[in-house]
């Protein structure tokens, strides 16, 4: 229950944004400082963090859509057809 409370859509999205900013930072670092460690970090860790942030966003959107679908039949009953 505690984990569910922690993982509210808002918090997940905020975390995803922070992760994406970290990933973008790694990409930009490798452009300005093209040495082995920055380049390798950008092409490995940066990609993983960026992918995780995008997946987190997609999970939130999917959860939101599912919640919307569950609510829809209630509203549909009120319609004339």
């Amino acid at each position: 229950m505690k984990i569910r409370q922690l993982l509210t859509s808002q918090r997940v999205l905020q975390s995803a944004c922070v992760l994406a900013l970290v990933a973008l930072g790694l990409f930009v670092w490798s452009l300005f400082d093209p040495r082995p460690i920055p380049v390798i970090l950008a092409m490995s860790v940066g990609q993983v963090i960026g992918t995780v942030s995008l997946l987190a966003f997609l999970v939130v959107v999917a959860r939101d859509l599912r919640a919307g679908q569950r609510r829809e039949p209630v509203g549909a009953e009120k319609r004339p057809f």
């Binding site: 990933a23 930009v28 490798s30 300005f32 093209p34 950008a42 960026g50």
Partner: protein
């Protein structure tokens, strides 16, 4: 050191994505349809654009001599290539526009079917060895232990020097050693032929002088 179009593309995408993400973090709007689209751009489209362009740029960067030279133990080899008046094989080839600033990669890349991947794996091995063994070793000391894993393949030379040209075969030494050169029994970059590619180079397994 922003180099080319891919760098600019990656940087632009990163800047746009960062602006969207910071705006979201500051304003924290409820998750409406419009916000979802903005977040899709900020978390998906622009970061992917930045990553793709950055990867291409990163890949090209790893082929540059300056990238190899960023590990100090490679400086004897790279400074030899950099020398505009050098007479070593590497220096003479680096002055050729076909090699230019990418000469380390052009000569040391694996040109087999999975050559690019194998070359990159080999590069990762070099990075690992640098940070575990050579980071605190002086370039002068490193020269004594750094050597090729395997003999330099003549096939790499034969990308350009095909050994089929009339002019090439007109040289008696070339003609006499043709079969041995093609079979890798006699290295082009060896003492009796064109000399080693770098002043401090030596065949694998041979101790440093």
């Amino acid at each position: 050191m922003i180099a080319n179009l891919f760098s600019y593309a990656s940087l632009s995408c990163a800047a746009i994505a960062a602006a969207i993400l910071v705006a979201y973090l500051v304003k924290r709007p409820p998750l409406s349809g419009v916000v979802k689209v903005w977040l899709l751009l900020g978390l998906g489209v622009f970061p992917i654009g930045s990553a793709v362009a950055g990867n291409i740029q990163g890949y090209q960067t790893t082929e540059k001599r300056a990238f190899c030279a960023s590990c100090h133990v490679m400086s004897p080899e790279t400074s030899d290539s950099d020398d505009p008046h050098g007479t070593s094989l590497s220096s003479r080839h680096a002055r050729n526009a076909l090699f230019g600033a990418d000469d380390c990669y052009v000569c040391h890349a694996d040109y087999g079917m999975y050559g690019t991947v194998l070359t990159k794996i080999g590069g990762m091995k070099h990075v690992w060895m640098y940070y575990t063994q050579y980071r605190n070793v002086s370039a002068e000391d490193a020269k004594k232990t750094i050597a090729l894993y395997e003999p330099f393949p003549n096939a790499t030379c034969m990308h350009c020097h095909s050994t089929t040209d009339e002019l090439w075969n007109a040289l008696p030494d070339h003609k006499a050693s043709l079969a041995a050169v093609r079979a890798d029994r006699l290295s082009c970059a060896s003492d009796g032929c064109h000399g080693y590619a770098h002043p401090n180079a030596r065949p694998p397994g041979v101790a440093a002088k």
